[in-house]
C-alpha cells in the first residue's frame, strides 16, 4: 500500500485564471510525497448531489509537501464539459476528493547517464507535467530544451516557467499569436538538432504525440508520450481507457492507459489504430468467432 495512490478528502486552496486555463491548487496532504513527474490525479467533481459520477483526470503540475495548510497538489485545467466547468468556479474550502498519484510517470535517464539531452514537447495544457520533469532532469545534470505549442497565445501554458529552466524554449501557435506560426513538429527537428537530443518527452493531444513520435524516430530517438484517453475510474478497474500498444513480445494488446500509462514509449503505441481493435490484437474477435 505504501507507495501506491492515496485517496484524500482534499479542499480547494485557490483557483486562478491563467490565459485560457484555470490553475487549481488543492490541499491534499500525502500525495506530494509520492508524486513523480508524469503522475496524474483523479478528482471527484460536482459536489454531494451531483449528477456527475466519474472522476476527472489531470496531470500534476506541481506539488508542495510543506504548504502552510498541508501538502498541496496543483493542476492546470481547461474547461471542457461539466466537471471541469465545476472545478473552475469553486471557492476556497470546497471539498474535493483526490485520488493520486496515479499512473506510470515519465522514465528518467538512469543516474549514470549524466549529460543526456532531453527535449520536452507540450501541447496546450499538456505542458503542465513537463516542468516538474524538467527540474528532475536538470537535477540529474541533463540538458533540457522546451517546445511549447498551442492553438493560440492564451492556450500556451508555462512559457515563463520553461524559460527559467531550459536551455532554449521554442514556441509555436496555430494562429501565430505567439512564437512561430505552426505546429510543434515544425520546429522540433531544428530544436532536436541544435540540442543533440537523446530523448523526447511529450504531452498533449494524441495527434501531436503521434507526430512527435514520428519526428523523434527520424532521429532515432524514442519519444516518451503521456496520452490522454477517456477515463472513468483512473485506477485500473473499469477498462474504459484502453488503447492498442505493442508489447515486448511484439503482440498488440488493449492496454489500460491509467495504470500501464499514461506515459508510453511512442514507438509502442499503434497511433493509427487508436479507437479500434486492430486485427491480430490479443483476444480480438476473429472471423467466425465471437
Amino acid at each position: 500500500m505504501s507507495d501506491g495512490p492515496l485517496q484524500v478528502a482534499g479542499q480547494v486552496l485557490s483557483t486562478k485564471r491563467v490565459g485560457a486555463y484555470h490553475h487549481l491548487t488543492l490541499v491534499a496532504p500525502g500525495i506530494a510525497e509520492r508524486t513523480r513527474p508524469g503522475h496524474f490525479v483523479a478528482l471527484a467533481t460536482g459536489g454531494p448531489d451531483s449528477g456527475l459520477t466519474l472522476r476527472r483526470a489531470f496531470s500534476i503540475y506541481k506539488v508542495d509537501t510543506r504548504g502552510v495548510y498541508g501538502g498541496t497538489v496543483e493542476v492546470v485545467l481547461a474547461v471542457h464539459g461539466a466537471g471541469t466547468a465545476w472545478l473552475a468556479v469553486q471557492h476556497p474550502h470546497t471539498p474535493v476528493d483526490v485520488v493520486g498519484p496515479l499512473g506510470r510517470p515519465f522514465s528518467l535517464p538512469k543516474d549514470t547517464q549524466r549529460g543526456v539531452s532531453a527535449t520536452l514537447v507540450g501541447g496546450g495544457y499538456g505542458s503542465a507535467p513537463l516542468f516538474a520533469l524538467a527540474e528532475a532532469l536538470r537535477s540529474r545534470g541533463c540538458r533540457v530544451d522546451f517546445v511549447l505549442g498551442a492553438a493560440s497565445a492564451d492556450r500556451l501554458f508555462g512559457v515563463l516557467d520553461a524559460k527559467r529552466m531550459a536551455s532554449t524554449v521554442a514556441v509555436t501557435t496555430d494562429d501565430g499569436t505567439a512564437g512561430t506560426r505552426g505546429r510543434v513538429t515544425d520546429v522540433l527537428p531544428e530544436v532536436m538538432a541544435a540540442a543533440h537530443s537523446d530523448v523526447v518527452y511529450a504531452c498533449g493531444p494524441m495527434a501531436m504525440l503521434q507526430a512527435v513520435t514520428a519526428v523523434a524516430a527520424r532521429r532515432g530517438v524514442v519519444a516518451q508520450c503521456a496520452v490522454e484517453e477517456s477515463m472513468a475510474c483512473g485506477i485500473g478497474v473499469c477498462m474504459t481507457c484502453v488503447l492498442p500498444v505493442v508489447g515486448d513480445d511484439g503482440q498488440t494488446r488493449m492496454v489500460r492507459s491509467c495504470v500501464d500509462g499514461p506515459v508510453f514509449p511512442g514507438d509502442r503505441v499503434r497511433w493509427d489504430d487508436v479507437g479500434t481493435v486492430p486485427a491480430g490484437t490479443v483476444g480480438a474477435p476473429v472471423a467466425g468467432g465471437h
Partner: protein
C-alpha cells in the same frame, strides 16, 4: 483561514453489536457488501485503497474461456447520475485467470465470487468445469446478459429457456457446495418469469440487476458515442429499477437469496436493496467515483441498520415486505 483535510481512511468495518453475516445459498459471508462484476477487476487495484478481505466477497469481472480484447473505444459515456459502458468483456481468459487472478485473491484472504460469461451453453459449461475445485472460489455468478452466438445473438437473459439452459449446465458442472447465482437483466417484460426459470434450472440464488440497455449520441460526430453503439446503463440513475426488480422477485420467490446491485453508492442505498429483499449487495459504478466505496458502504450500512434497531442483517432482508 484554516484547512482541515485528511486521508480517506478505510472506515472501520466492525460493529460488534450487529450480526452482519450474509447468506447466499449455502455460503456464509462475514458481511453483505461485495463488489459488482466488472467494477473491481480482480481485486488487485482496489487493494491499494482497502483490504479486500474486509469485504463480504469480491465478484470478479466476468471471465470467458479465451482471452478477449474487448471492444474498440470509446467504451464509456457519462450520463445523468450514471454511465454507459461497452467494454465487451475484455479479459485474459480462464487459464490466465486461474493462474494469476484467483490465487492472488485467495492469498490476500478475499472470498471470491467468480463471474463467468459465454457465447454458448457449452462455453458456460466448460468454464464451470475448469473452475471446479478452484481454491478460494466461494460461489459462481453466471452473467447471462451475453449474446447467444448460436441463436441470432439473442441475449440469454432475455429468454427463460435459454437462461435455464445456461444455468442448468453450469449447475451440473459445479461442485454442490458452490452456489450458482444467475445474474438477471432488467431489460425484460417479466423478470419474475426469468428468475423462476433460473431457479427451476438449479440456480441457488439470483444476482440482480445487470445494466439497462442504453445509448448516447455524440452531437459533434452525430454518431453513437460508444464504438459498440449501445451500452449498459449503470449507477445511481438505475437504483429505482433495481429496487423494483428485487422487490418483485423477492415477493414471488421469498426463499431464494438475492445478491442485489444497481446504483448502490451509500449505506442507505444498500439497506434499501436489503429491505426490498437482497441478502447481500454489490457495489459497482460507485467505485469509479470513490475507490473506497465498498468499505464505506459497509460502514454506513452498519450504522443505518443499527439506528433502526436491527441486531442481525438477516432480520432486515426483505423487511419492507413484512412491515
Amino acid at each position: 483561514m484554516s484547512f482541515h483535510v485528511r486521508t480517506v481512511e478505510p472506515p472501520r468495518v466492525e460493529a460488534p453489536h450487529i450480526d452482519l453475516t450474509a447468506r447466499l445459498g449455502d455460503v456464509v459471508l462475514p458481511n453483505p457488501v461485495l463488489t459488482a462484476s466488472g467494477c473491481a477487476a480482480a481485486g488487485r487495484e482496489l487493494a491499494q485503497f482497502f483490504d479486500v478481505a474486509d469485504l463480504g466477497a469480491v465478484v470478479t469481472k466476468s471471465i470467458m474461456l479465451a482471452a478477449r480484447s474487448g471492444r474498440a473505444t470509446p467504451r464509456m459515456a457519462e450520463t445523468a447520475s450514471g454511465m454507459l459502458n461497452s467494454i465487451g468483456l475484455q479479459g485474459p481468459g480462464i487459464d490466465a485467470f486461474l493462474e494469476h487472478d484467483l490465487p492472488w485473491l485467495h492469498e490476500h484472504g478475499a472470498r471470491t465470487v467468480v463471474s463467468i460469461a459465454g457465447g454458448s451453453v457449452e462455453e458456460y459449461a466448460e468454464l464451470a468445469r475448469r473452475l471446479r475445485g478452484a481454491p478460494g472460489m466461494l460461489a459462481l455468478e453466471v452473467n447471462i446478459s451475453c449474446p447467444n452466438v448460436e441463436n441470432r445473438g439473442l441475449v440469454f437473459a432475455c429468454d427463460p429457456d435459454a437462461a435455464a439452459a445456461v444455468v442448468g449446465a453450469v449447475r451440473r458442472h459445479t461442485a454442490p457446495a458452490v452456489p450458482v447465482l444467475a445474474k438477471l437483466s432488467p431489460d425484460v417484460t417479466d423478470i419474475v418469469s426469468i428468475a423462476r426459470a433460473c431457479v427451476d434450472a438449479g440456480a441457488d440464488g439470483l444476482s440482480m440487476i445487470n445494466t439497462l440497455l442504453g445509448m448516447a449520441l455524440d452531437l459533434d460526430t452525430m454518431r453513437p458515442v460508444l464504438a459498440g453503439v449501445t451500452g449498459g446503463l449503470s449507477g445511481r440513475a438505475i437504483k429505482p429499477v433495481a429496487v423494483r426488480c428485487i422487490w418483485q422477485v423477492h415477493a414471488a420467490l421469498p426463499q431464494v437469496p438475492i445478491l442485489g446491485m444497481g446504483g448502490v453508492a451509500s449505506g442507505r442505498d444498500a439497506v434499501e436493496l436489503v429491505l426490498a429483499g437482497a441478502s447481500a449487495v454489490s457495489v459497482g459504478t460507485a467505485i469509479f467515483h470513490d475507490p473506497s466505496a465498498p468499505v464505506r458502504v459497509l460502514a454506513e450500512l452498519t450504522e443505518v441498520l443499527d439506528a433502526r434497531g436491527f441486531t442481525t442483517l438477516a432480520d432486515a432482508v426483505g423487511h419492507a415486505h413484512r412491515q
